[in-house]
Amino acid sequence: MKQNQCYLEVDLSNGRVETHFLGQSETEMFPGGRALGLHLLSTMLNPGTDPLSADNLIAFVPGALNGSGTPAGGRFSISAKSPLTNTIASSNLGGGWGTLLARKGYAALLLRGRAPEPVLLVMDRERVEFRPAQSLWGLDLPALFEKLAAEFPPGTRILAIGPAGENLVSFSAIAHDGGRMAGRCGLGAVLGVKQVKALVLLPGGEARLPAAADDFRAGVRRADRLLRTMPITSKALPQLGTAGLVRLIWEHDMLPHHNFQDTRHPAEAIEAISGERLRQDHLLASSGCQGCRIRCGRSTRAGGRQGEGPEFETIALLGANLGIYDLEEISLANYACNELGLDTISMGNTLGLAMELQARGLLPAEALELPGWPVFDTPGRLEKFIRLTATRRDAGAWLAEGARRLAGRCGRPELAMAVKGLELPGYEPRATMAQALGYATSPRGGCHLQGGYAITLGFFGGAREVDRFLISTTAGHVVDMQDSGCLADSLGICRFAFFAFGENEIAALYSAFSGRSVKPSELTAMARRVQDLEREFNLRAGCGPEADTLPERFFSEEIEIAGRPRKIDREKHFKPLLDNYYQLRGWNAEGRPGRRDG
């Protein structure tokens, strides 16, 4: 079928709802998800806009293949200017919300302005109802979803913010009913400032049928077969979840410890927080995004409660990084983040910074006047710090600003383990050059996914694996992986599916679905165009090449990795990588895109 050709724009300030049409060339160049979100923002949003102002826009964009039946093809994107990084940001999540919007015939929903009071947006086809949400404001997410589930018919899909978003916590998330999260870049705060508590999509819509049904079915069969036969998608992720990575990453000296000061953890401690232990002691069932057979999600029980997760990143940042090796405590902390609407990566990373500041006596007097500062290797208090952060109470008022601002406020900006303001996830960059370059060049900052998912390159890329300490050709591999990721984010396909199939299979599926013959190279060109535009947006937002770097620690402090002390040599290793990266992207020496087409 043809791509949806219109999007819905809602002005929260005045309640106006308009339908806008997209040109054929627009939907071809920006088919959906991250690509279309970027297109809408880059054409309508002044990059200099204050992200926590009414002028910021936020776009909810289904992946181009949402609802098509593409295996692992149910992911969609939320895009806005990030209050955490001041860059363009798109956060990607699963769940049925994107598919339902697509089935209603919309390529996107765009929100502008600010509601005069907290609202609930209830959407059907052309009708968008604003309902007062004062009574819902302050509810945590499980309570909110329970209340709304009782109010709306089955099949309704909901996106919402928790107290953290309401309180404009810089790394607050947007949650999907059923447990999925758009966690990164603080997009919850963007909804918070707009006073939107939840976006409710009522059931109903039309099936999205492929233009070439036989070809599409054949493509689905092939993709499905590949997903079924690759152990990572058929066994590792379903059985262990991403938590299964804990031991692997630790074995490769990549699991951060004490705010990335080293990667040393006792073996028995790692065993205690491993995916295997999670499965053995806490797992109730695997869970997954709509229509996904991988089912990497974990429904778990801990401390007498039930919830989702923890994922690898959560265990790494809220556990190992803080010197806490107790899966029950980590799980409860994870539940708290889910309930309050917080990104677990940024939360754990910021706590790590606070602990280092505390340990080194670098917290200023005004901070120390506040109770509630965390300490390394001290279990039993994680959930409390999380609740303080979501509500901005005590030390939580400082933590809620994220690592970059916290470190800056303490006069030690170099101690923030963040790039462009986005806190790093659970992979030590000194242990793989691709990861280092990916963090430095990701358009939304310190991100493993938009940075190119270098772990794939280093550890389970099959025949495509790249040596993790290689310099000379690594930039090319990172560019390729970032392009693949952008493509996945735009078409709405899970990154994990790329462990089983790639651009060729996706091009076949997309061609059969859209009825337009698209070559893999054209999809790659689309992804490159999107990243060029993201770059231009960021440059205009004031985020220039000086931000394409890593925290100083990684250049100056040697740690033991793979049997010898290592740091990243800025001149000999990092600069050539970055220069090479710019060149491969067709950007000039200052990192400015020089072209627009593929």
Partner: protein
């Protein structure tokens, strides 16, 4: 039980050996072994000839483990077989894959293969890569048989350890090459099964520590060199073939010979007066008792076996070389029936430097290990050319013979 390091070392060695033999492309196939309550398996997409520690992962034997993020797409089948076997090797062995397109069962024609792998099923799952159906079939069949071949995909072979599984793989591929050669040469295969003597095969000893009591180190080096050449030239499958040298009233005897670099040999000092039960030992001893030979080598060389079957089927008794060097050194290689007594075998070998025992292999007499392996490797070349000539003739290509044999006026020798 091996520790992790030892287990990895064994898998690496087998990976290297598989590449040396061309048993798959650079990346395909996989090798696993049980290590206590854990399993080790090669990483998906790893280069089997150049495995490093990080290319061998542990996906869990009974419960899923983090190695699943890296492990082969055939992990499920490996895990199930390792419940009852020490090791499983899967390769895309070219002769076995080729035959699998034609046959539903592979019955080795060579005495060694028939002795160890009398019937190898060829299975044809709907989804021949990493599927549940394949897992089920592999797990069930290998419970009762040491090897199977997946049509168009390749063999799965089990063993007590990686070396034993690799031994089965090499025997299977050796047998398949022989059958494939005969098919291409147009020899009527079913009629040949009655002509072989199925070997009573002693299992090779794969323990890493071997004893070489009283063996001169210089001689040991020559034994090792011969073992590696046998392996690399595929003169005999892994841990098959035997070499001996005479040392006064004794012989130094090395069974299970062919092996890649780095594998230990086993040598024994045996009195020539011993009444040997083992047929091969008896032949070696008979060679020293009846001739002036100082060294004897026996190999299960498939090209020679194919030519031997072909010669006997044509009613002839000798393999006559067609190539220049072959003719220069060897006017002919006698082919004896599998039932030939050791005395007759040795007499013929003494007359012609070497002899082919039908279905079994080439036995050569000489002065040194280097001297005898020249005979066996020459036999391989001679027979390879003759086999090619037979295929050319059969396909109507009308090959011409060298001038020393009358040039193109001569009747092709392979007919």
């Amino acid at each position: 039980m091996d520790n992790l390091e030892q287990g990895r070392a064994r898998i690496k060695r087998i990976g290297r050996a598989m590449l040396q033999l061309g048993l798959q492309n650079t990346h395909s196939g996989n090798i696993s072994m049980r290590l206590g309550d854990q399993m080790l398996i090669t990483k998906s997409g790893s280069m089997k000839g150049h495995l490093e520690d990080r290319d061998i992962c542990n996906p869990g034997l009974n419960e899923p483990g983090y190695g699943l993020f890296q492990s082969s797409s055939e992990t499920g089948g490996h895990r199930r077989v390792l419940q009852y076997a020490g090791s499983l090797v899967h390769a895309h062995a070219p002769a076995a894959v080729s035959l699998s397109f034609l046959l539903d069962e592979i019955r080795p024609l060579d005495a060694l293969g028939a002795g160890v792998l009398p019937e190898v099923p060829v299975i044809n799952p709907r989804d021949p890569v990493g599927s549940a159906e394949l897992e089920d079939a592999v797990a069930e069949i290998l419970r009762h048989k040491p090897a199977l071949v997946v049509r168009g995909h390749g063999p799965f072979v089990r063993g007590e350890n990686p070396e034993a599984a690799f031994y089965h793989l090499c025997l299977l591929e050796n047998s398949c090459r022989l059958i494939l050669d005969l098919l291409l040469m147009g020899v009527d295969i079913p009629s040949l099964y009655g002509s072989i003597r199925v070997a009573e095969v002693e299992s090779p000893d794969f323990s890493p520590e071997q004893e070489h009591a009283g063996v001169d180190p210089v001689l040991l080096k020559q034994f090792r060199r011969t073992a590696v050449d046998l392996f690399q030239l595929r003169l005999s499958p892994f841990t098959s073939g035997s070499l001996s040298v005479r040392d006064g009233p004794d012989m130094i005897y090395a069974p299970f010979l062919a092996s890649p670099d780095g594998c230990e040999l086993r040598t024994r000092r045996l009195s020539l007066k011993t009444a040997f039960k083992c047929r091969f030992m008896a032949m070696h001893a008979a060679g020293y008792q009846a001739t002036a030979a100082k060294a004897i080598l026996f190999t299960h060389t498939p090209e020679a076996l194919a030519q031997g079957f072909s010669v006997l089927a044509a009613g002839r008794r000798d393999i006559v070389p067609a190539d220049a060097e072959g003719l220069y050194f060897y006017p002919g290689i006698p082919v004896l029936a599998a039932t030939a007594e050791p005395g007759e075998v040795i007499a013929q070998a003494d007359r012609c430097k070497m002899v082919l025992i039908n279905g079994e292999g080439i036995l050569a007499l000489g002065h040194t290990p280097g001297h005898v392996i020249h005979h066996n490797s020459s036999a391989q070349s001679i027979c390879r050319y003759l086999n090619s000539l037979a295929v050319m003739t059969r396909t109507g290509l009308r090959p011409k013979t060298p001038s020393q044999l009358g040039g193109d006026r001569a009747k092709p020798l392979a007919e």
